[in-house]
Symmetry: C2
Subunit: 165 residues, 2 copies
Amino acid sequence: MSSERNDQPTAEQEQFTLRMRSLGTRTVLYQQYVASSLGLYNNDYLSIDILHEKGPITAGELSKLTGLATGSVTALIDRLEKNGFVRRQTDPKDRRKVIIVPQYEDKEEVSETYDPLHAKMVELAASYTAEELKLITEFLGKASDVIEEQIYSLSAAPKSKSLPK
Amino acid sequence: MSSERNDQPTAEQEQFTLRMRSLGTRTVLYQQYVASSLGLYNNDYLSIDILHEKGPITAGELSKLTGLATGSVTALIDRLEKNGFVRRQTDPKDRRKVIIVPQYEDKEEVSETYDPLHAKMVELAASYTAEELKLITEFLGKASDVIEEQIYSLSAAPKSKSLPK
DNA sequence: TACATATATCTCGATTACCAAGATATTAGT
DNA sequence: ACTAATATCTTGGTAATCGAGATATATGTA
């Protein structure tokens, strides 16, 4: 075969990783801009996004997912609750737990802010054939999985420096 | 033709946008973890990433790109400079300007932290045929462009609420 | 040339997210 | 009952960020 294992990455593969990285940078920036235009702090909006994907979760789970200290999550939930983005609900099975329930019905601003991107993405999707879109969608899932793995290994890892110098 | 313009998105297209959003959430989280494991604040690492992509830019450009106030950028550059990630260089053509020059030679920690993800991404890329990878890489470019457009329209837009309450 | 205006960065004071550690409430195990 | 484990909240301190003004340089106009 023409390609061996553990070769240096090809030029095409490097081009691909570069594009992934660019996409990542823009994604982070976009997220920050959306958060600020909603009057939310980054982690507040990120948490809304996480809740959107995962559905109701406990405060502790959100702490693990975001990497924030539990005290920070308490304050974060306070803010989101005050603005009507979520509500607290105690778990009847374990009354120590606080379940965070997203409240999207009354909060169309979030979807409204996201809508233009969504529309553009649908448009982009429509420019591909069914087969191509399937390939891309599956790829996105795999890429997500790779990143999630990396998050796990980073959060498990030495954790090295703590921030305040 | 079988598909009309302005239809509702198909199930496949919705699936696609959902995956994009998941990827975005994970990307933001990953970025935060990397930043913290490098002992950097999010915007500091984000700025390094921007500099990595764009090369040397002025403080003002970084302010626009990150959405941070100019005063915040001053402090941010101070931190990065102190840690040797960048250096300041005055523009001989316009001595008001401060050009931020990335210093990667001595700072392998950054690439080291990024390497595992890079390796996994190369691996993922290698699982595709040349044609498929080309399709995906081109897609990534288009998706980046879409997000960049959205950032522009958000930063141009009302800007609505400012954060402190 | 002199002067006003625009632009780029920096400085300063105030606000507030965040962390770390301890406090409180509930559950689980013996 | 009693101890330990778990989940969230509270408190105090630190520092990133903002906003507004200060400083330095550049540009335009008479």
